[in-house]
């Protein structure tokens, strides 16, 4: 089970409160976590990554275990505490704009 923390706007969009818990098929990577997230909440498609290129949106970052995972390969295994559900995978909106 993977725990995911979404930014406020995406929680509202997905109609969820607090963390989201996901069952991820196969290896837990950024790609499989986002695939599972979008499958469960189709309204989130396109809000975190481009729907065609699957590139992360510019004003979003992915964090876990106090590390910035934004530039880690999408198919690399997530840190063990995230895989084991001890730590959440954080989707973070850039602090920018007004």
């Amino acid at each position: 089970m993977i725990r995911v923390v979404l930014p406020a706007h995406l929680r509202t969009l997905a109609k969820v409160n607090g963390e989201v818990e996901l069952q991820v098929a196969g290896e837990a990577t950024q790609r499989t976590v986002l695939d599972a997230l979008e499958a469960r909440f189709p309204m989130l498609r396109g809000t975190m990554r481009d729907q065609v290129t699957l590139e992360r949106r510019a004003f979003l970052r992915f964090f876990a275990c106090e590390e910035d995972l934004s530039f880690v390969g999408a198919d690399e295994r997530l840190p063990e505490p995230v895989v084991r559900g001890k730590e959440p995978f954080l989707v973070v909106g850039a602090v920018a704009g007004g």
Binding site: L13, P42, M43, R45, G46, V52, R57, L60, G93, A96
Partner: protein
């Protein structure tokens, strides 16, 4: 008794405002999609309770929302806007080639006959169509590929397709406008497009009478006379009596002919409204006086309408999609400002009153006349 519903898009959410035929007391709901930029919200003429809304921001991109109950509840619809083929480049501000990139939906235009068909005008400029109620989208790429696309350039607000007009008599004919490319017409349902900018003169582009490159801000049409078009260009108010094939300036006695909005009275095809703005570098009314100007003669001869509008210290703007009219016997006229006011006139512009004064900056206003 008939009623009116206003669909108001703002920088930080959408609002739905309803009133009975007197249009005196308004019930306001919102913000819907609080914190998001709501560029446009519009209802289907076939099924007025079916609404489409463009929701976006820089962090999470573009979403489309759909309501089937007049805005009480909403559901996320399709937001996959993919250009047909390799989109290539258009001109950047400095004249260099710049890749076509989807940014947002500026305008949603529901079909006049089918509640499942809706058109989307997007930035970077292109026209998309959905035939399944906004669940999926397909580019009508004949527009972007008609030949001049590589020469289109963005205006200050981006390279946006912001105006979509459907001819109510000839369903194969549509008009669109792009800042800064100009106006285009299709006569074959969107397969092919023709630039319709003859008669426009824009001193700020290298060839002032070029076929494309004009910064058209908005176009309006009266449904009873769809060959007659009114245009607010960057500078100049224009009119065409032949479906855009030739334009003539009708700025006449306007104190300034810069502006964004233009609209036509519901029952008088020759009665036109604009809100003059001081200049392209000073986007607010002249002398701090908010004035709607009305022509009852199809242009040239304009009168200021000021009763109920602030006549001092007013420095707001009225953006291109932020004016609309209802179709009640006494035509209501509505507009929203970047200062967050939404003004209503239940009598064709004679008297104005603010429905609300402190919304986020208003991006769009659409009036629905309900049975």
């Amino acid at each position: 008794m008939s009623s009116v519903r206003l669909l108001v898009g703002t920088r930080k959410g959408a609002f739905v405002m309803t009133a009975d035929g007197k249009r005196k007391n308004w019930d306001i709901t919102g913000p819907h999609f609080a914190g998001w930029e709501m560029y446009h919200v519009k209802g289907s003429p076939v099924d007025p309770n079916r609404l489409f809304a463009s929701q976006s921001n820089s962090w999470f991109g573009q979403l489309i929302q759909r309501s089937n109950d007049g805005g009480k509840t909403w559901e996320a619809a399709g937001n996959k806007f993919v250009y047909d083929g390799v989109p290539g480049t258009h001109q950047w501000y400095d004249g260099t080639p710049h890749p076509w990139e989807f940014k947002r939906v500026w305008h949603l235009e529901p079909s006049l006959t089918d509640p499942d068909v809706v058109y989307a005008g997007v930035e970077d400029a292109a026209l998309f169509r959905s035939s399944d109620g906004a669940t999926s989208w397909e580019e009508m790429s004949g527009l972007r590929k008609h030949g001049s696309g590589a020469g289109w350039a963005p205006g200050a607000g981006g390279m946006c397709l912001h105006t979509i007009l459907i001819d109510p008599i000839n369903p194969k004919r549509m008009y669109i406008a792009i800042s800064s490319a100009g106006a285009f017409r299709t006569d074959d349902g969107g397969e092919s497009w023709t630039p319709i900018n003859q008669g426009l003169r824009s001193a700020h582009i290298p060839d002032p009478t070029a076929e494309v490159g004009h910064c058209v801000h908005h176009i309006a049409m009266h449904p009873a006379r769809p060959d007659v078009l009114y245009m607010q260009k960057h500078w100049d108010v224009m009119r065409s009596t032949n479906g855009g094939s030739l334009w003539q300036e009708i700025s006449g006695n306007l104190p300034t002919d810069f502006g964004f909005v233009i609209d036509v009275h519901a029952h008088e095809p020759e009665t036109v409204y604009v809100v003059p703005i001081k200049s392209d570098s000073e986007h607010f009314p002249l002398d701090g006086k908010l004035q709607v100007f009305r022509s009852k003669t199809g242009g040239d001869d304009w009168e200021p309408l000021t009763k109920g509008l602030p006549q001092k210290d007013c420095y707001v703007n009225v953006l291109r999609d932020a004016m609309s009219v209802d179709r009640l016997d006494s035509c209501g006229v509505y507009f929203g400002t970047t200062g967050g006011q939404v003004y209503a006139s239940p009598d064709g512009g004679e008297n104005w009153e603010a429905i609300v004064r402190d919304l986020p900056a208003v991006l769009s206003v659409e009036a629905q006349t309900l049975p």
